[in-house]
Structure formats: structure tokens, C-alpha cells
């Protein structure tokens, strides 16, 4: 029993972080059809924003966090406006083209961060807090923050999508863009909103991630890769799917890591994804165009 609790606790920390990132990714995908691979970049941009505010300028945590989130949102909106909207207008850009575009953006972000901040990793040891024991399970102060904040955020987010008018508008665009426009919804604004919200989530995830796992410019790619796998497993375009996908992947990672060997975790999480996709080609909770 102890072991199970411990393993569960191991699953929750990265699981929740990636759930947040993947949820944002799913949102943008369903509303805009864009595979926003640069989201991993937005996450680390937020991390570096926090670093600048907190470690370089010695601002208090809250202001540094606001700075980080603001930068994340600006980056996300910039990417949407300058790249995706332009490509939409310009004509037919295939999936391969979009992939190349988003990956290029991600690489540019990483290199800019490398040039500005250098390659040495940044850490926030003092913010991790002390270790607390809850029976067999161990959490640091920061990990408790993650365990509390992220579920709250996710719940608020889902409620937002389900209950508010804006949420419905977003879902309308996700379901069928042309019809939504007919009904008077400005789809362009909705796309911007989707990017904004997803970047907000990515921003928070970025801060939490940086404190928990430290920060260096080349992390963006790994975060992106992990994000897509978890999102696709759960069903791209579904927030619940993003959460489920992240948690299940992390479960397999923990089990493989414990009972077999950590070197095979990527392989087994892929295997899980493969098997699930064979049975449910749209992911666990994926339906073609829904968000929630």
C-alpha cells in the first residue's frame, strides 16, 4: 500500500504539470486547428520571465509570476498573430508546412533564450521549500503548491468552457468554424482568446516547472514532445483528454521506471499510446472536434 501511494504521488507531480500544458495545447488545437508545438517554448519563456523578475531583479514572487505570465501570453499571442493568422490568409499551408513553422518558432525561441541567458541551468532552490512527510509519501512545499494550484486551475478552466458564454463561443468555433461565424461569433477573436488562455496556462506551468525542475534553454523541445504525446493519447482537442492522457502516461512512466528500468520509459509510454490509438484512433476521450 505504501508503495502504491508513493508511486501515485510520483505520478501526480509531472502528471499535473503536463496536464496543464497539454490542456492549453488541446484548446488551441480544437479552436484554431493549429498544432501549437511552440507551446513548449512558451512554457520556458515563462520560466525565464520568472527568473528575470525573481532572480535578476529581485522582485517578490507574485510580481515575478505576473511578469512571467504576461510574457507568456504576449509570446503566445504574437505567435498566433504573426505566424498563424498570416499563414491562414496567405493560402494553403499544409500540415507539413505548419509543423515546420511551429518547430522553427520553437527553435528560434530556444536560441534567443540561449543568447540572452546563456547555457548554464538556472535553479530556484530556495523556492522549493522543505520536505514534508505524509505517511509514506513525501512532498516539498513547492510540490504541494503544484498539487493544489493545478487542479483548481483546471477546474476553473473547464467550468469556464462549459458554463460561460465565451466558453460556449470557443466551443462553437471548435465544433464548426463556419457555422459559428454565421451565428455571429468572431472566430478570429476566439482564436486569439484560445491562444491567450493556453499561454496563460503554459505560463503558470512554466513557473511551476522551472522551480521544480530547473531551467535551461534546450528544455523546450522535450516539453513539446512530451506534451504532444500526452495530448494525443488523451485525445487532442479534449481538455479532459489532456488531463487523462498526462496522468496515464506518467503512470506508465512510473511503473516502468520502478519495475523495469528508467531507460525504457519513453518506449513504454509510446507503446501505451500506440495500443490505445489502435483501439480508439482519436485518443481516450477524443471525439473529432469537441473540446470538453
Amino acid at each position: 500500500m505504501d508503495l502504491i501511494l508513493q508511486l501515485i504521488s510520483n505520478v501526480l507531480i509531472p502528471g499535473l504539470l503536463f496536464a496543464l500544458i497539454a490542456a492549453g495545447f488541446s484548446l488551441t488545437y480544437s479552436v484554431t486547428r493549429v498544432l501549437h508545438l511552440a507551446n513548449g517554448g512558451v512554457v520556458i519563456v515563462a520560466g525565464y520571465g520568472f527568473y528575470t523578475g525573481y532572480s535578476l531583479w529581485h522582485w517578490p514572487i507574485w510580481s515575478a509570476s505576473l511578469l512571467a505570465i504576461a510574457i507568456a501570453i504576449l509570446t503566445g499571442l504574437f505567435i498566433n498573430a504573426q505566424i498563424h493568422e498570416r499563414m491562414r490568409e496567405h493560402g494553403i499551408v499544409s500540415a507539413a508546412g505548419m509543423l515546420v513553422a511551429t518547430i522553427s518558432v520553437l527553435l528560434i525561441i530556444q536560441n534567443i533564450l540561449l543568447a540572452i541567458f546563456g547555457s548554464a541551468p538556472k535553479s530556484f532552490a530556495d523556492l522549493q521549500g522543505t520536505v514534508h512527510e505524509f505517511g509514506p509519501v513525501i512532498f516539498t512545499d513547492h510540490e504541494i503548491r503544484i498539487l493544489v494550484l493545478i487542479p483548481i486551475l483546471l477546474i476553473i478552466f473547464i467550468l469556464l468552457l462549459k458554463k460561460t458564454k465565451t466558453g460556449k463561443a470557443l466551443r462553437a468555433v471548435a465544433d464548426h468554424e463556419q457555422v459559428a461565424e454565421v451565428v455571429g461569433i468572431a472566430s478570429r477573436k476566439m482564436r486569439m482568446l484560445a491562444f491567450g488562455i493556453s499561454s496563460f496556462l503554459a505560463g503558470i506551468a512554466g513557473i511551476l516547472f522551472a522551480i521544480e525542475y530547473n531551467l535551461d534553454p534546450s528544455m523546450g523541445i522535450m516539453i513539446t514532445v512530451r506534451m504532444i504525446f500526452r495530448a494525443i493519447l488523451g485525445g487532442v482537442g479534449s481538455i479532459g483528454g489532456a488531463i487523462l492522457g498526462s496522468l496515464s502516461t506518467e503512470t506508465i512512466v512510473a511503473l516502468t521506471g520502478y519495475y523495469w528500468n528508467v531507460s525504457w520509459v519513453d518506449f513504454s509510454s509510446f507503446l501505451l499510446t500506440f495500443v490505445v490509438l489502435l483501439i480508439r484512433p482519436n485518443g481516450i476521450l477524443g471525439k473529432k472536434k469537441r473540446i470538453v
Binding site: 508503495l3 546563456g118 548554464a120 525542475y213 531551467l215 535551461d216 520509459v265
Partner: protein, 404 residues
């Protein structure tokens, strides 16, 4: 039908042209045949110029830039100092820096460019073993000296060729030291080893596991994690439950190492934590003093307080406002600038002559290094390792280990 004919014509023209180009040139040495070939045209030396150019290869982007760039900065400092003092035999020293991307193909492209376009006779680099092994064949064919400040794969000893040298000891040594120490000092019977899945780390891993087993120990947990892994809670849990006497941690990137040690400490593991040299990098120890407190590392014995080294440390801090992240490697990267200044002044910017001189290098001191000797494989002869323990953000030596 017409289209087809055009393709055929183009194809034939290209093939014939190439054939002419190729078979009308003097033969280059085949790397399988023995070296005694008469007509090997070598990169023509730059005849008269007010500059001397040498090459430098290392990862300037990507996650390995965490070592590549500090090494680059060290060499840049050396070049600056040398030029301020009059240059190399009166000529300005120019270092052409290339990004090898810590990758075989990147290293090869970088080296080919440096040799063909910058016409270098000497290359300081690569940083990563794979990168270096990607271009040693090209260097050997062109008789260009390669001198790595940090590549540690045992493969470089056997596959690097006559023109490859290094001042950095092969992994084959450091792994043994850690195993012996674990056995002797902690009387360890069971060990857990957790290693990054990279060439450098795996080299150390292999040697440690072999040595530990040969001395009668048992490696009960042997994990290799992939680069980019951020979460180590499960591994820490596994290690805790295995109740080992000692944990040997071999990381490639500091970020992962810090996360790993933190996870181990969170699990309240009391077994001593041994590591190689990345985690005891000074900046890393300083910035993560709480997490890394008590970690014991092994690095090639290097006296940082010795005059040349201390001077370098101070100059580096003055120029870049940062401490040396990897004192030994960076000192090597710095000292190589001085090594080649000496070599070029004595023998000219000539790969063949310098290679011959380096093959006999004994007791060389310069830059921040002292008494460096190279063996017949181009490897540095190294007998002593420092045992260092991270204490309160500092990394003092707690002993010296001499290899028999």
C-alpha cells in the same frame, strides 16, 4: 517522353563530369591502407600573412552548449591575452569557432569547413566524444592536429588516429577511482548506479560497474535515464527501497543531476552519493548548495591554486564576471591556446611537424597546467584524482587518489 530524355542527358553529363573530376585527381590516402603513401596532398600552408588561424569545435547550441560555451570562452580569453602580448611570433592569433552540435555529422561538417576554408592546421576540440570521433578521420587524412579539452570516451584512444590528442583523462580511469573509493572508504557491498544515456556518462558507468563487480560488489540498481528526463522521484524511490550502501550518479547535464540528487535527498536516502565531475562544478555547487551538500565527486587532480591556474581563474572572472563552471576542462581549453602558441612559434603552423612534437610531449607546463605528458596514443598520462566533497557550497578536496 521528352522530359525523360532531358533527365537522361543531364544524368549522363553529371556522371561523366564527376568521373573526370574524380579520376583525374591525385589519390588521397585510403584510411584502410597504411600511412606510408607518397603523394598525399595536404592542406597548403598559408604562406605569408599577418595572421595565424586555428580552429575550435564544440557545441555552441543545444543542451551541450552548457559545456561548449564555457570552454569557448576560456579559449577566447587565451587568444585575447596572447594577442595583447604580441601574438604568435608577432602575428595575430585568430581562432575560428565552429558549432559541432555535440554530434558526429556536425563535427565533421565543422572540421571540413575549418580545414578547407579557413585552412587550419590545428583544431582545439571537440567537446563531446561523439563530435570528436566524427571528425578525427577527416583530420587524420588532412594531417591536421586535433586536441580535445574534454572528450573522455575510451574509443578516442583506439579510434582517434595519430593526429588526435587530449589532455583530459579517459573515462576508463575515473570510473575505477570511484569504484575503489566506494569499496575502500565505505566498505560498500551493494551499489546503485544511475547514469545519463550519453557517451560520456555511459563510458564511466561501464568502467565503474566492471570495477565494482570485480572487487566483489553487487550493483543492485542499474538505471540509465534519457536526456531530457526531468522527474526522478520514481528512481529515487527505487533506490531507497533497494537499501544500498552507496549511490553512484553519473550525469551529463547539471540540470538533471540537481533534480536527481534532490529526489534522492527528498527520499531521505542516507547512503553516500558519489558522482563524477559535472555536479561538483563550482558554479553548480555554489548555486545549489543545499541540494548538493555532502555529494562526493572525483575529478582529475588539478591544483586550482597553482599560480597559472589561479591567474586564469582571476582573469576569467574579470572578463566574464563569472566563475569557472568546469575548472579543469576550461583550464585545458585555455592552456591549449598557449600550447599551440608555443608549437607554432617553434615549428610553424604545420600539422605534420606539430603532430610529431606532440607525440613526444613530456612534462609540458603552460597556461594553467603543469607537467602534462602524452602517451603513445595521444592520451594524457594521469595518475592522480582528487576526491572532493561539496560542503556549504564550496568544493574542497578531502583527499587524493593515486592510481597504481
Amino acid at each position: 517522353m521528352k522530359n525523360n530524355a532531358i533527365w537522361w542527358i543531364i544524368g549522363i553529363v553529371i556522371v561523366v563530369g564527376l568521373g573526370y573530376l574524380i579520376f583525374n585527381q591525385p589519390n588521397k590516402t585510403n584510411d584502410k591502407k597504411s600511412e606510408s603513401v607518397a603523394t598525399a596532398p595536404v592542406a597548403p600552408k598559408v604562406v605569408e600573412s599577418s595572421e595565424v588561424t586555428i580552429g575550435w569545435i564544440g557545441p555552441l547550441t543545444g543542451d551541450a552548449a552548457a559545456y561548449g560555451i564555457p570552454l569557448q570562452k576560456a579559449t577566447m580569453l587565451a587568444a585575447e591575452e596572447i594577442n595583447a602580448a604580441g601574438g604568435v611570433g608577432g602575428k595575430k592569433l585568430v581562432v575560428a569557432y565552429e558549432d559541432g552540435n555535440c554530434d558526429g555529422k556536425g563535427g565533421a561538417a565543422a572540421a571540413q569547413k575549418l580545414i578547407s576554408i579557413n585552412k587550419v592546421q590545428i583544431i582545439i576540440g571537440g567537446t563531446c566524444s561523439g563530435e570528436t570521433l566524427g571528425f578525427t578521420p577527416i583530420a587524420n587524412e588532412n594531417k591536421v592536429v586535433v586536441f580535445s579539452p574534454s572528450a573522455s570516451s575510451p574509443d578516442l584512444t583506439t579510434k582517434g588516429g595519430d593526429y588526435a590528442f587530449r589532455f583530459y583523462p579517459s573515462d576508463a580511469l575515473a570510473g575505477k577511482v570511484a569504484a575503489s573509493y566506494a569499496m575502500d572508504t565505505f566498505k560498500a557491498k551493494k551499489a546503485a548506479v544511475i547514469t545519463a544515456n550519453t557517451d560520456y556518462a555511459q563510458g564511466l558507468h561501464r568502467v565503474f560497474v566492471e570495477s565494482f563487480k570485480n572487487a566483489g560488489g553487487e550493483v543492485t540498481v542499474d538505471e540509465s535515464y534519457n536526456s531530457g528526463t526531468t522527474d526522478f522521484r520514481t528512481q529515487a524511490l527505487k533506490i531507497k527501497n533497494a537499501k544500498v550502501d552507496v549511490v553512484y550518479i553519473v550525469v551529463q547535464l547539471p540540470t538533471e543531476g540537481i533534480a536527481l540528487v534532490k529526489a534522492l535527498k527528498d527520499q531521505k536516502i542516507v547512503a553516500p552519493l558519489l558522482t563524477a565531475e559535472i555536479l561538483i562544478g563550482r558554479e553548480i555547487a555554489k548555486n545549489n548548495k543545499d541540494v548538493l551538500e555532502g555529494v562526493i565527486g572525483f575529478e582529475a587532480f588539478f591544483d586550482e591554486k597553482a599560480e597559472g591556474a589561479a591567474k586564469f581563474t582571476a582573469a576569467f572572472k574579470a572578463k566574464y564576471n563569472e566563475d569557472l563552471a568546469f575548472p579543469f576542462m576550461q583550464t585545458i581549453a585555455y592552456s591549449e591556446g598557449y600550447l599551440f602558441k608555443e608549437m607554432i612559434e617553434k615549428y610553424g603552423n604545420d600539422g605534420v611537424k606539430i603532430q610529431a612534437a606532440l607525440a613526444k610531449l613530456t612534462d609540458w607546463s603552460g597556461g594553467g597546467l603543469k607537467n602534462m605528458t602524452l602517451d603513445e596514443n595521444g592520451d594524457v598520462v594521469w595518475k592522480s584524482f582528487s576526491i572532493k566533497k561539496i560542503t556549504n557550497g564550496d568544493v574542497p578536496s578531502i583527499g587524493v587518489f593515486d592510481m597504481k
